[in-house]
Symmetry: C2
Subunit: 222 residues, 2 copies
């Protein structure tokens, strides 16, 4: 009886350690399966090596757990991009740096990226997602910076700030997804085949995309 | 006994009809589940209302069946885009039209698009995918048209034709995915909330992206 009581009343450090292990296992499973719907509390408990009730000591529902993982990832995303958006340099220069940082962050987090940027957040978490989500703060910061650049004449104003910001987002979003899925597949399966499909290098494609976005939204000459 | 024999020896038209129904059910299931791995012959048989062995009369393996669906979709994709790539007009004008047609086709096929353009093809089908796949023909045609445009001086030659073609692909790929996943989600969940996140219109974003790609790869002035 004593040993059972000891196990459920974990010392503070042990509880925190288990919580970290649960988050790490959930993150790995989300990355492997690609969707919240395909990961169960049972899978997570199995991966950590504990029983499902041990998970519920730390997280009330699966949605709260998968949301905690996504939130943590988006916090890393915000920590990387928000200082650039709000930092030094003219608008177009900051946009160029934020675009490259976005792609690099996406490739560093390639397995989780589709869960974060293609799927929908866990349903019961929608309210929290709306309130202060770092991913949405980055998007709001991007639109604000584009608007500022247009006001200063540093970014061309043919389109609305929203459409311009989303067009920039589409370019870097598509680049992350092509580099992490299609390019890898083509490289392993078409490289040895005698095929006319050329595959650009990672750095080469990133530079081409970033320079193209820069040129596309620079102000019109004279 | 006679009726059983009649059912297994289908008249020609009935077999073709069942084949179409199997393909349609598989297409729907792939679009709903988002991946080959999540669709089973049992699911497909259940959706059509036949037994699994009836499926095997038409397709030897699940891979052959899901490949047939993807192949059919890519044939529609090629039929829409290849005539533009190989058609009239200067290179940059054709690229502009092929870019817009790509996005419109992606939105018309939004549910199946991630299966076709994010996942990998069924493993056993890789050889067929390499040989004459219409999706790869479009990519090869795009690279060839970019190369032609660069030779003619109609497209700027700062990057390789491959990196330029992939950068264009990234822009339209990202646009299809943002419009069909993120924009829809934001519209339904952020519209009623008092949020500063502006959401561009579909036509507005498509036009902004296409014009931006056009400007980005036009030859440098003077």
């Amino acid at each position: 009886m004593t040993s059972v009581r000891n196990r459920s009343r974990l010392r503070k450090g042990e509880g925190e350690q288990l919580r970290r292990e649960i988050l790490a296992a959930t993150r790995d499973l989300l990355a492997e399966k690609g969707s919240h719907d395909l990961v169960s509390i049972r899978d997570i408990a199995h991966r950590v090596g504990v029983s499902p009730p041990s998970i519920y000591l730390h997280f009330e529902t699966k949605d709260q757990l998968t949301y905690a993982v996504c939130r943590e990832a988006f916090e890393g995303f915000g920590a990387r991009l928000l200082p650039i958006l709000a930092g030094e340099g003219d608008a177009l220069d900051r946009l160029r740096r934020v675009g490259e940082a976005y792609i690099r962050w996406g490739l560093d987090n390639a397995a989780l990226y589709p869960v974060l940027f293609l799927g929908e957040p866990p349903e019961s978490m929608e309210h929290e997602v709306m309130a202060g989500d770092p991913g949405l703060l980055v998007l709001a910061g991007l639109v604000a910076l584009v608007r500022l650049g247009m006001d200063e004449g540093a970014i061309r104003g043919d389109s609305t700030p929203e459409a311009t910001a989303w067009a920039m987002w589409a370019a870097v979003h598509g680049t992350v997804l092509l580099l992490s899925s299609k390019r890898e597949w083509m490289q392993s399966h078409l490289a040895e085949a005698d095929t006319p499909i050329g595959i650009p290098g990672v750095d080469e494609l990133i530079e081409t995309v970033i320079e193209a976005v820069f040129r596309a939204f620079s102000p019109a000459d004279g």
